[in-house]
Each structure stands twice: as structure tokens, then as C-alpha cells.
Symmetry: D2
Subunit: 117 residues, 4 copies
């Protein structure tokens, strides 16, 4: 599991260098990157368009489909990292802060029934 | 910079526990999470709807707006981490593999003019 | 059924006048409208985020929810009409041409199994 | 201009028949169609990803690009018509009602500065 030892900064640096080596910074405004992110998220979603919710879990047991989905998820993640770079956002901090707020909004251990995430 | 020391696995574990404590797993199929991810990405994009591409860079100097954008970006990131958990995807590996393919597709140091992701 | 007697041009004219009376044309570039359209489509989709595919059909029997969904669908439609105006596209022609191509791509009467748009 | 004489019902009937001839109704739940609509909207948006807002207006003078955009816009429109059919929504009524509400929310003739849909 590379995730166990890879920091967010290591991945952000990977993306930062990739963009710099191609001199793409002028195109990568927050507006454009947010559009690109939404477009990539839609492509990921298309993989699950015509299957039922439960059936979509079967992708885990289909190596070819799983690889295609992982590829789209990586595209989305690269846009998130790129946006963090461009905006100077500490993503770990932002995630922890968000989850702390969500923990207040959706207290643990309550009966569901209400909204969920 | 928490990003310098936070591993992806630490954040994945944070999300995994949050979901488990609320027993939300039955709702979090890949289909539903991909929809949620696309919806969050659209909310992030809405912050940049009516500004020009260049003008959108000014968000960096507007603490209130930047905090709102960081909050939406964290929402998107949580869905990415959640999907990685549900699908058993090593996100660092997927990102590195994707960027290696992109490096072949868009060689560094070439004159632009072509597409730029 | 107003749809039985309302032409697309009547609705396009309604949108055209609404935009002109507010002098919004400078903001309504194809780029911005395409972003707005995607954002509205995501809001529509959010209504169906946590229900199963079959269960989502029940919205038809829930007047309050149906009204909210119709409202979002109208938002999406207004963006489509607005884009048609801005781009000078005859939408009826474009739809008929597209469906003619789809009819060749997905011949009628074939057993399913394949893709279904 | 076919839009001047084509009613929404005529186009809705075209879509209804197309779907029926392929027996696609079981797949076309509101949930799935809303996902398909969001995915098509994202594909339309991708045409304007790397151009500036003003530059995106030039698509009107590029017949090939305009045809590609019209094709994507038709895809979006077909999903809107299909959803109207499935949900039993009178789209003209919904659009007129929405615009009446928007006229109150954004009174005409006011100086801009505020939000502009």
C-alpha cells in the first residue's frame, strides 16, 4: 500500500513539477481547473450510469473495469492536488476541518433515517 | 503544512472511521459516491461561474472566499478518499501510474499549441 | 398541456427577452453558460443521490418533491434555450439530427444487452 | 428555423417513441436520467475548458466546432425531454413558472453588481 507512506505533499509536488515542465500554469486558473475537475468527475460517474447502486459494488471484482475506474479517480485526484497547489490550500487541514464540522452536523451513533453525507 | 507529514492512508482511515461510526456503508455504493463526487465538484465550480479565468486567481487574496473554496475542495477530496476505500484502490499508485501515462501523452518541453490538460 | 402548443422559439424568445432586460449578455458567454448548465444539472441530480434507481420513480407521486424537481429541470432547460440563443442553434434541427444518428447507432428492435443511452 | 414551428410535445413524442422502440424504459429511472443529463452537460462544457470566456464566443464562426457543440447540446436536450416524459412534467409550464419567480428575484432594469444568473 503506497498510500501508507505517501504524503499529500509528495503527490502535490509531483503534480506541481508535471505542470511546470509543460509550462501549463497560464491555463490552470482556479476557474479552468474547477471545470476540468467537474468534467473528470462526470467521466468517473459515467462508469456507473446504467447499473443499480448495489450492482455497482461488483466493480471491485472486475480487474479491467476497476483499473478503468482507478484511472478516472486518479484524474479527479490530480485536479484536486493541482487546485490545492494553485490556491495554496493545505488539503489535510481542510479535510480535517471539514470532517470536524461534519461530525457536529451528523453526530455518530444516531439512528439514521435522516440525511447521510 | 500538514500536507508535508500526512499520508493518504491517514486521511483514508479518518474517512473510513467517520463512515463506520454512522453506519453509512449501505448508502455508499460506488454509483452513489460517484454521483456525490460529481455534485460536490459542481458546487466547487459554482464559485467561479461568473468570473473570468484570470480574475478567478484573485480568490487566493480573499480569505473568506478562499475558506469557502477550501471547504468545497475538502468535500470533493473526502469523496475521492471514500471511493478509494470502497473500491480498495491505492490512490498514490493510481496517481503515479496516471501521471506516467500522461508524461508519455504530453512530453515535457514541447511547444504548447496542442492540448493541455 | 402547454407543451402541446408551445414552440421552442416562443420559449427561446422568453429567455432572450429576460436576459436583455437585465443586460446580462456580457456574462453569458458559451463558456460561462456551459458551466452554469452543468451546475444546474448537478443540482437536479442531487435530488436522486441517495435513493435507488427504482425508488427514484416514486417522485412522480410526491407533489412537493416533483415540484422541486420540475423547478430544477426548468433551470436546466433555460440554460439550454439560452445557449441555443447565444450560439444561434436551431435546437429542433439539432435534436432531430442527433436522434437520426442515434437511430443508426442503436437500431430499434434489437435485443438489449448492449449499451442503452 | 424549425424552432419557430416545432412544439415541445412534438419533440417529447419523438423521444418517447425512440425509447419505446428500444424498450429502454426499465433503465430510464429519474435517478439514471439525471446522471446521464449531468454527464452530457459535462461533455458540452469540455468544449470550452481551455478557452477564455470571451474567446468562447468565437465558436459561432467555426462551423465544425459549432456542429460538435450543437450535437452535445442536443444530447442534453434529449435528456431533458426524456425526464419530462418520465416524470410527467409540462416543461413549458415549468419554464414559465421558473422565469416568473426569477423575474421577482432579479428585477429588470436594476444596476447589475449583484448576482446574474
Amino acid at each position: 500500500m503506497a498510500d501508507a507512506t505517501t504524503t499529500l505533499e509528495a503527490l502535490k509536488e509531483l503534480v506541481r513539477r508535471f505542470v511546470a515542465e509543460r509550462a501549463w500554469e497560464p491555463y490552470h486558473s482556479p476557474k479552468n481547473l474547477s471545470m476540468g475537475l467537474a468534467a473528470e468527475a462526470a467521466e468517473l460517474m459515467e462508469h456507473f450510469l446504467w447499473v443499480d447502486s448495489e450492482a455497482s459494488r461488483a466493480v471491485v471484482r472486475d480487474p479491467e473495469k476497476l483499473a478503468a475506474v482507478a484511472d478516472e479517480l486518479a484524474d479527479v485526484a490530480c485536479h484536486v492536488l493541482n487546485l490545492s497547489n494553485v490556491l495554496g490550500i493545505d488539503l489535510s487541514d481542510a479535510i480535517r476541518a471539514k470532517m470536524a464540522r461534519n461530525a457536529l452536523k451528523y453526530p455518530a451513533g444516531q439512528s439514521a433515517g435522516g440525511s447521510r453525507q
